[in-house]
């Protein structure tokens, strides 16, 4: 009879808020790495934002560099340590706003890393400001208190469509609001690591993730918001799967 176990790579609790999706994503990363047998040769790259806590929680080597530059930092690592499993765990502020250029160019270079982007529609670590790429129209944040107005703040952008313009190995979006979607997200993340094992190229997995603290919603209502609102703007599914190209 299967026993439900915590991945042994998780060695500490992390400082995430209650109901936050980061911890689930961190666990999916650890499960994927262990199921593929990669846990003895991993370098994780986190941003100096909420994902930073993962470097205390997981028993891997980690690097945290300048805010937003994760894809570039991971590129440097993978180039000099091509045999290591190198992954990015970062937010949408890092990956799509200040570090959009770094993300896009990692995709253009097709660097064989696994990049997991947490789309929670907000700047979490700094207390809940507007995210130009992902905050939904009308959503209230500390820097858009009357709600996001597209006339002055533009519209949210599906960055996976932008990245799909590049010749990458894999691009997909998952969500965490029910078991079915968590399982699907896990399959995407594992696929991203499998691609790295097979040296297939750049894999990016975006995850629609709740931030109850800054959304000022209960964890349950935050999940409902993703299902009813966020997913309408950012559909889940596979955007690119280049498949075998040996």
């Amino acid at each position: 009879m299967p026993v439900f176990r915590k991945p042994e790579s998780i060695i500490n609790t992390a400082g995430y808020c209650g109901g936050c999706g980061h911890g689930v994503i961190q666990r999916l990363i650890a499960e994927s790495i262990e199921e593929l047998g990669l846990q003895d040769h991993v370098i994780g790259c986190v941003d100096i934002a909420c994902s930073f806590w993962s470097q205390d929680a997981l028993n891997f080597e980690f690097i945290a560099g300048p805010h937003g530059r994760c894809a570039a930092v991971a590129t440097g690592i993978k180039k000099v340590r091509p045999d290591a499993t190198v992954y990015v765990h970062a937010g949408d502020g890092c990956s799509y706003v200040i570090g959009l250029s770094e993300t896009i160019y990692a995709a253009i270079r097709d660097v064989p890393i696994t990049m997991v982007v947490v789309n929670n529609g907000i700047f979490g670590m700094t207390g809940g400001q507007l995210n130009l790429a992902t905050t939904l129209i009308g959503d209230k944040t500390l820097s858009s208190k009357a709600g996001r107005d597209p006339k002055t703040m533009g519209h949210p952008v599906d960055m996976l469509k932008t990245i799909a313009n590049c010749d990458v190995a894999f691009a997909a979006r998952g969500a965490l609001y029910d078991v079915k979607h968590i399982d699907e997200t896990k399959r995407y993340i594992k696929k991203g690591f499998q691609n790295q094992v097979e040296n297939r190229g750049f894999s990016i997995i975006e995850v629609l993730s709740p931030c109850p603290t800054n959304w000022k919603l209960s964890p349950v209502d935050a999940m409902a918001k993703i299902k009813n609102e966020t997913e309408k703007v950012f559909p889940v599914g596979v955007y690119v799967d280049r498949g075998g190209k040996d």
Binding site: E8, S9, Q39, D40, H41, V42, I43, C45, Q55, N59, F60, E61, F62, I63, A64, G65, P66, R69, A72, V73, A74, T75, G76, I77, K79, V80, R81, D83, A84, T85, S101, E102, Y105
Partner: protein, 360 residues
């Protein structure tokens, strides 16, 4: 006929010496007058089994370098003026994480985009800068193609010895000129030799983290570590050259391309009966204060010769001399100083026609 030298540009000597020092990672973005470093690396890095990346900008290039440096690779990037400004963020992060790296700054003239011709106005950003925060960069200023090679080769050792960023402060003249150069012996670097580097270690091993050392050491221990490191670099890494200081009446102080004209001026002036000498800082941080302790009593003043609008090095000379002698600054800004110009300026000083320069 075989020869033991090569004729190359300063830029090429820097790039080749870096490769011979075991540099196996270069990332950078083109900017005149140092693009030949990037171009040289694009041709030769792969032949040595290393990684060359033309970055999408300087910030990304430096972030890639940050990752490679954390893995223990010998890393280099290079830029000039406005491009070097963009590297400041990662210099601060490299310094915080105690990561070694060698950066080249080939100075050009002017604020903003300025002009692509030679200048020396990045003294301040090099000796005081490197982003925010308490730290020092070791800054070495070559004055010949030979020194471009020698100091670059040395820079990688210093960077690792102190786990510190080392800057090669070149300029548009030194990096573009061709001279004879005897290249150093090639060596291999073992990127697994450090106990701090990221390698991707197995479960049982102690894991390394590349991030602010203060986070892991605690702030008090970190502050002490940084202070002691800076003191140690200041104490041990002052480098300079003295030229005809004995019985000098005026001592020229100049580095890089300006020091070349100064050497000629000292020789010429002494032929004409005017007693000039020269202190040439090779390290501009640490500034070679020790050089000034041994100057003879005959010295009546110091002349800082710089290609800048106001004197930048002047305040370091005043600190080194404890304001004991007048300081004059011969500033040529966009023009490379000439022997005639330096000599005429010194004649005016000795004739009492020029007031000391106030450091602003």
């Amino acid at each position: 006929m075989s020869v033991d030298y090569v004729l190359m540009k300063g830029n090429e000597a820097i790039a080749e010496a870096a490769l011979r020092a075991g540099c196996r990672f270069y990332a950078g973005y083109p900017i005149t007058p140092q693009s030949e470093i990037l171009e040289y690396m694009s041709v030769h890095m792969a032949k040595r089994g290393g990684v060359f990346i033309q970055g999408e900008n300087e910030i990304a290039s430096m972030s890639m370098l940050f990752g490679a440096a954390a893995c223990g690779a010998r890393c280099m990037s290079s830029s000039s003026g406005p491009g070097f400004d963009l590297k400041q963020e990662e210099i601060s992060y490299l310094s915080a994480a105690g990561l070694p790296a060698v950066l080249v700054n080939a100075m050009r003239y002017g604020l903003g985009d300025g002009e692509i011709t030679a200048g020396q106005d990045s003294y301040w950003v090099s000796t005081r800068g490197g982003g925010h925060g308490d730290k020092r960069l070791l800054v070495l200023a070559p004055a010949s193609v030979q020194e471009c090679a020698d100091l670059t080769y040395l820079a990688f050792d210093l960077a690792e010895k102190y786990r510190n960023v080392v800057e090669i402060l070149s300029d548009g003249a030194i990096c573009q000129m061709i001279e004879k150069c005897v290249l150093p012996e090639p060596r291999e670097h073992d990127m697994n030799k450090f106990d701090w580097a990221l390698t991707g270690k197995p479960r049982e091993a102690r894991k390394n983290k590349a991030y602010n050392l203060s986070y892991y050491m605690g702030y008090e221990a970190y502050d002490r570590y940084m202070r002691e490191k800076i003191e140690s670099m200041f104490e041990n890494e002052q480098r300079w050259e003295e030229f005809m200081l004995e019985d000098a009446e005026l001592v020229l102080v100049a580095y890089g391309i300006s020091s070349r004209a100064c050497r000629s001026a000292v020789r010429q002036a002494r032929r004409d009966g005017m007693k000039l000498g020269l202190i040439r800082p090779i390290s501009v941080w640490p500034f070679p204060r020790r050089a000034f302790a041994g100057v003879p009593d005959s010295v009546r003043g110091y002349v800082s010769v710089e290609m800048s609008i106001t004197t930048q090095m002047g305040e370091d000379i005043q600190l080194a001399t404890e304001f004991s002698k007048p300081l004059y600054a011969y500033l040529t800004s966009k023009e490379i100083p000439t022997v005639e110009g330096i000599i005429a300026y010194c004649q005016e000083i000795l004739a009492g026609n020029i007031k000391p320069t106030e450091v602003l």
